[in-house]
Amino acid sequence: MIVMRADLFVTCLIDAFFPEVGESVVRVLQRAGVDLGFPAGQTCCGQPLFNTGYRDLARAQARRTLAVLEERRIPVIVPSGSCASMIRHGYPELFREAPEDLARAKEVAGRTFEFSEFLVEVLGWEPPRCPATGLVYHASCHLQRGLGVDAAPRLLLEQCCGAPVPALDSECCGFGGAFAAEHADISSAMLARRLEQIQASGAGRVVANDVGCLMHLEGGLRRAGSSVRCLHLAQVLDGRGDRLR
């Protein structure tokens, strides 16, 4: 038996807004046999700075984050497809003209995994059955397209629920970070379509692997007066809680 050591990069959104998601992530990973650490210096991967074009600021934050993740050369688990994709693809793009930083970025990128990807692809862990029902899965863009991770979360859900969990079509929820504020009208129109689909699915809970999408969807559901709530995959696998927080 091998004990797998790994560090958790919990992401700023979970840290600040949804710590309960982080707690479920920790419990699930521990249950899966991971000896988990939490590098205390971590804050945010810098994606908002990168996505809005402030590359100097983003590079400084990326170097900072790389230093934090270089303290121990072990796998890094990120419970967000978006932030994992930032580390895996965004950092190399930021440093494409800085060979030394690029090498560091690639080294860290090579051992950075999204939560469901790590459970399925690295550990081959099978979750215990849990009683969750009425779920519908939302495939987050940066997870399915940025990282190419799509089968893993669906497999975990199926194993956990005992049957395939239906999914919304693979469209963006309209979040897009600063886009949601800068182009609030387009973002809202995109969200409205997803809310209609959620409504039509008849599900009571929307599951995804990214709290960015989830806070957007839940914010829209709440405003619309819907009783549907959102959950992170880790919370489903953790078998507890029926809401984000």
Binding site: D15, V26, T52, Q61, H142, G174, G176, E182, G219, R222
Partner: protein, 678 residues
């Protein structure tokens, strides 16, 4: 940016536009998948297409040089235009030199880019757009709303009203009736035009071939009927070889319209040759730079690989909401938000790149692997470096960078923000209203309050509670990849040709060479045709076939257009109901007929009549375009002025993406498949 915001607001609030976009959405998206599934290894074909375009852009100078030289050898006159106004000036002068007052155009994005129509009109030249979608938007005085589907912003009702107002047509929302009206309106324009202007989908460097990919038949009219043909193309639209072209054709029609092959793939090799019965006496190419060559040295160079298929627009959820016109550039959608600032500057167009969630649907859809989200991010970086984003975003990001720059500051920041959020109005604990700039969010969505304590303060408890790790066994247990449906080609080439051609909308009549004349006579009798526009070429019993038809009382017309002057002959041919040709090859992959130009082989016979009868011998069926084009195809192209690949009847989906056959070309294609003699 302010104008863009206003356009977006208007688009979102326009019920007719929203309805049009919604009606088209399903079909726009559905276009893509099934067509690629027909390839045995779609991913590999896309990788090859990507590699071909990258290589072409990397070696653009020598490729362009070879292309220009080859065009010269082929008798095509080459003009180079550094800017849009140069291009317009060259074209206006050419038309004036030829005394051309009436021009028909086939769809071409580069001519939209250089605003050619404005220049022609200013020069007193009448220009008519002949692609159905372009025709509609020209009548309305609008620019196209999509790279490949110009009228996608219109509902059938809108088109009906446009035709009512401009064509004097009785209001009807029948798409077929509207298409027929456009056919009638444009037929006379084709016959009267003194010059044709088209774009080019690909130029082939090794052979100097101009390749046009079309569906309606208007592209063939424009490049065949008038005495002067001017092709306008961006300098980057090259592929090195015919083998490369076949790969690009495999992805372009699939990505663009979801077809295996468009109705027409026109391969133009030169002007009308000695002995050709028709075709333009002069063919010119205007190679337009307009910022492209400079783009090679920018971080957006990858965008030069674009083949203008429009797949990224179809996949884009933002385009779905706002349509094409809101972008304020002739190139809308994801690729437009990269190409527009790339060609014409971040100052004027950089803001378009902010209108994206970076969802990556465009990258997945791109048949030539352009990493559009990364390019959009590079535009944003340039924009931020030029201090163009709004002040709140700039100061907000500075503040954020400071706050996340150390874990101490982060913790303090959370505490401060948490205290401030106590003041906000809430319901069920979520925030209802925030001040600008976050008011945009809370206009339609609740915002989560900050959690107390944050995760970082809960970690030590969680770590302490951890049971001793049980240990795990490392098993490789990857989720099994979905097995793609088996698409391996099966059956004989003849069977595959027959099924693909039927799929494309052809009718197939299988017969022996002895039975062929009776079958053709029968087909003519069915439609009551007395006249037949036909090829005159000898070989494979063609002469005796024609004698037999004549003997049966059918009047044969073998077109031969005068090189100069009189166009009346043309109008005479246009009234003939049926055309008869002999395909030199059939391509089994998509059910394609190959018709070269040449002595006795009129291109009009397969284009003007509403019914096209084509004889194909079983022994001439080849496996695929890829196996035919670089071999036998090369032989035909090196000796003839043009080769046309025909896959099914003329068609359009320009009105609400409703497929309609028989636009400018034939609405019926009947293939007489002649068995091998036993």
């Amino acid at each position: 940016m302010t104008a863009f915001r206003a356009h977006v607001r208007r688009a979102l609030a326009d019920p007719a536009l929203q309805q049009a976009l919604d009606r088209n959405a399903e079909r726009r998206r559905a276009a893509w998948g099934p067509a690629f599934a027909s390839l045995t290894d779609a991913a590999a074909v896309r990788r090859r297409a990507t590699e071909i375009r990258r290589r072409t852009i990397d070696e653009l100078d020598p490729q362009l040089q070879a292309f220009i030289q080859q065009l010269g050898t082929n008798g095509v006159v080459v003009h180079r235009a550094a800017t849009a106004s140069d291009a317009c000036r060259i074209i206006v002068e050419l038309l004036r030199d030829h005394g051309a007052q009436r021009v028909v155009k086939a769809k071409s994005m580069v001519t939209e880019e250089i605003t050619l129509n404005r220049a022609l009109t200013a020069a007193g030249i009448e220009v008519v757009e002949s692609d159905l979608g372009e025709f509609i938007v020209q009548l309305r005085g609008e620019p196209p709303a999509h790279i490949t589907a110009p009228a996608i912003h219109l509902r059938r009702e809108d088109v009906a009203r446009t035709f009512e107002a401009h064509l004097g047509m009785t209001y009807t929302t029948e798409v077929e009736a509207m298409t027929a009206a456009a056919r009638r309106a444009l037929r006379s324009k084709f016959l009267e035009a003194q010059a044709g202007i088209s774009g080019v989908n690909f130029g082939v460097a090794e052979t100097g071939t101009l390749c046009l990919v079309t569906n309606e038949g208007n592209g063939r009219m424009v490049t065949t009927l008038p005495r002067l043909h001017i092709a306008v193309m961006g300098v980057e639209r090259l592929v090195p070889t015919l083998a490369d072209l076949s790969v690009m054709l495999d992805v372009l029609s699939r990505a663009g319209t979801g077809q295996q092959r468009t109705s027409y793939v026109t391969l133009l090799q030169g002007p009308r040759a000695e002995g050709d019965p028709d075709g333009p006496s002069e063919r010119h190419v205007v190679l337009v730079d307009n910022g492209r060559l400079a783009l090679r040295d920018s971080p957006l160079a990858e965008s030069l690989a674009c083949i203008r298929c429009g797949a990224c627009l179809n996949a884009c959820p933002v385009y779905q909401e706002i349509g094409g016109h809101a972008y304020g550039s002739i190139y809308p959608g994801p690729i437009g938000s990269v190409v527009s600032p790339g060609l014409w500057g971040t100052a004027a167009f950089g803001h378009l790149a902010t209108a994206s969630t970076l969802c990556g649907a465009c990258r997945d859809a791109c048949p030539v692997g352009i990493d559009l989200p990364t390019l959009l991010l590079r535009v944003r970086a340039e924009r931020a470096a030029d201090r163009r984003p709004p002040a709140w975003l700039r100061s907000g990001m500075r503040l954020l960078a400071f706050a996340i720059g150390s874990s101490g500051r982060f913790r303090a920041g959370l505490r401060a923000a948490g205290a401030a959020s106590l003041l906000t109005p809430k319901r069920d604990g979520w925030i209802r209203r925030l001040p600008p700039p976050l008011s945009g969010w809370t206009g339609t969505r609740d915002f989560p309050p900050l959690a107390r304590p944050p995760f970082r303060d809960r970690w030590s408890d969680l770590a302490a509670k951890a049971d001793a790790p049980e240990g795990i066994s490392l098993r490789a247990r990857r989720p099994s990849p979905e097995t793609p449906p088996s698409t391996t080609a099966h059956g004989s080439p003849r069977e595959r040709f027959t099924s693909a051609a039927r799929e494309a909308g052809c009718e197939i009549v299988e017969c022996t060479s002895a039975g062929l004349p009776d079958e053709i006579i029968g087909a003519l009798g069915e439609v009551g045709a007395q006249d037949l526009l036909t090829w005159k070429s000898e070989g494979r019993g063609w002469g005796s076939l024609l004698r037999r038809l004549e003997g049966d009382g059918i009047r044969l017309l073998t077109p031969a257009l005068p090189r100069q002057g009189d166009r009346a002959t043309l109008a005479g041919y246009a009234a003939v109901p049926v055309g008869l040709t002999g395909a030199v090859a059939g391509l089994a992959d998509a059910g394609t007929l190959v018709l070269p130009a040449g002595p006795g082989r009129s291109q009009l016979a397969s284009l003007l009549p509403p019914i096209h009868l084509a004889v194909l011998h079983e022994s001439e069926i080849y496996d695929s375009l890829e196996s035919w084009l670089p071999n036998d195809g090369l032989r035909w192209l090196s000796t003839q002025s043009a080769v046309v690949l025909i896959t099914g009847p003329s068609r359009t989906a320009d009105i609400e993406m409703t497929l309609t056959v028989g636009v400018h070309g034939p609405r019926r294609v009947v293939v007489f498949l002649v068995e091998r003699d036993r």
